[in-house]
Amino acid sequence: MSELSRRKLISTGLAAAAGASGLAVAARLADRYGLIPPDHGGVYGLGETMTYASQRLLTHSSLAREFPRSQISKTPFANGEPYQGEAFKLLQAGGFADWRVVVDGMVARPASFSPAELRSYPSSSQITHLACEEGWSFIAEWTGVPLVHVLNAVGILPQARYVVYFSMQRGWWDSIDMADALHPQTLVTYGMNGGALPVGHGGPIRLRVPRQLGYKSVKYINHLTVADNLKGFGKGLGSASPEGGYAWYAGI
């Protein structure tokens, strides 16, 4: 082996080792600062991780754009048929007075809230965009109580890293990190465009996450769980979306 090629081999080896250890350090740091999404595995994991990590660094506390009242869509499109479950229809017949949103997991005081109780909290309204991953969208005024207010009421424990939320509609559940859970615009929503939230749009209770695509704003919410990791939920990918082939993080 000539001197030149040996030197080349050694320097290539050193560069490869430096690159590998650099990647390992980057992965450790990213995990520590919560920059790794739960669906980071698989062939598309790298792109997904880069999207989530870069956007978390750029958008940690940015506010979703709010619009003037004149921009509210006259024709908000309710995606899919209103939920038709038997238990749901019974609650609907009672004006959702018996609806409960259970909040448990890593909280000091697990509790459940009726829509009336949620309405008794200081309300917040926002005129924001709801954009579907398919490409269509509408703008509406959403009214509710910020999720952070509900979380403060039950007292989240310091190790909390995610809020998992479940729909009464079977198969629909999702989760957000604390940056979104504590975000002032993340809303436990009960009103839309000045009235009660219509069933087609997720009434009585929908979680609005305006900095992410529409599918993160799950309808018919009746259960919130605060968690320190997502392994125990479903297939451990963070929500039903990755199980159906969609990204957990939908800020794109």
Binding site: K74, C132, S137, G245, I252
Partner: protein, 253 residues
């Protein structure tokens, strides 16, 4: 007689003495990464578009609002009226994952290409047209040569003609940045951090519509690019972009 761009005289000044060095390794590697990403982005982009083949202008739009235009193709969603009696299965899951993964790879390859291109003076040496080439006469002559499908002269084995230079610069510094910008402007999270990036485009639906048209332009560029390679000699040009070797000896075939 005026010397057209890419003539032997001009090329003689540019061509290296040896029969190597048409394309640098960085240009070749980033070219093929971009090629792979472009096809991934195109397939997944088409797949995403057909789930809602309606386009709007402004901030918001859905099936209940009038469209700017509607693609006459079947939608992968039955709630999107298309005039067709059948629907395609919704394939947005993998296509969205693939779209963003390929976009990351393309953007990173593009950054390497641009930074390396500035350092090695690739843009100035190979892509910026010379002063004389930018005259209307030179451009119209090059244009006429293209329209007559005139095969390139020997010099073009070593350098680009003026239309080629302008087309590449337009794609690299106008269409690619625009398609990245309009893509990011569709992201609700990016819009929250950089609202102006959306509002100057006219809104999120406008960004989607512009993204579609820029993609169409890029596909048109790709088709012309492939036709030109075939006219110039497919084997030579492919070899140059794969191995880096140019060569004039087999140019006139």
């Amino acid at each position: 007689m005026a010397v057209p761009a890419g003539s032997p005289r001009r090329a003689a000044a540019i061509a290296p003495a040896s029969n190597t060095g048409r394309h640098t390794a960085i240009v070749r590697v980033t070219h093929w990464i971009t090629t792979a990403c472009f096809f991934a982005l195109l397939v997944s982009g088409v797949e995403i578009a057909i789930s809602h083949p309606r386009f709007y202008w402004g901030e918001a739009g859905n099936v209940l609002t009038p469209a700017l235009f509607v693609l006459p193709i079947p939608a992968s969603r039955s709630t999107v009226p298309t005039g067709y009696g059948f629907v395609l299965p919704d394939q947005n899951g993998w296509s969205r994952y693939l779209h963003f993964q390929a976009a990351w790879a393309a953007v990173l390859a593009g950054l390497v290409y641009v930074v390396a291109g500035l350092f090695t003076r690739h843009f100035r040496k190979n892509l910026l047209p010379g002063g004389g080439d930018l005259s209307w006469r030179a451009i119209s002559r090059s244009f006429a040569d293209h329209l007559r499908f005139k095969p390139p002269g020997a010099g073009e084995a070593w350098s680009y003609n003026v239309l080629q230079r302008l087309a590449y610069l337009f794609v690299i510094f106008v269409l690619f940045p625009l398609v990245i910008w309009t893509g990011l402007a569709m992201s609700p999270a990016v819009a929250s951090a950089f609202p102006l990036a959306v509002t100057v485009l006219g809104g999120q639906q406008s960004a989607r519509t512009i993204h579609f048209f820029v993609s169409v332009f890029l596909v048109v560029f790709l088709l012309v690019h492939i036709v030109m390679i075939c006219l110039a000699g497919f084997g030579n040009r492919m070899r140059a972009m794969i191995t880096g070797r140019g060569g004039t000896h087999k140019e006139h075939v």
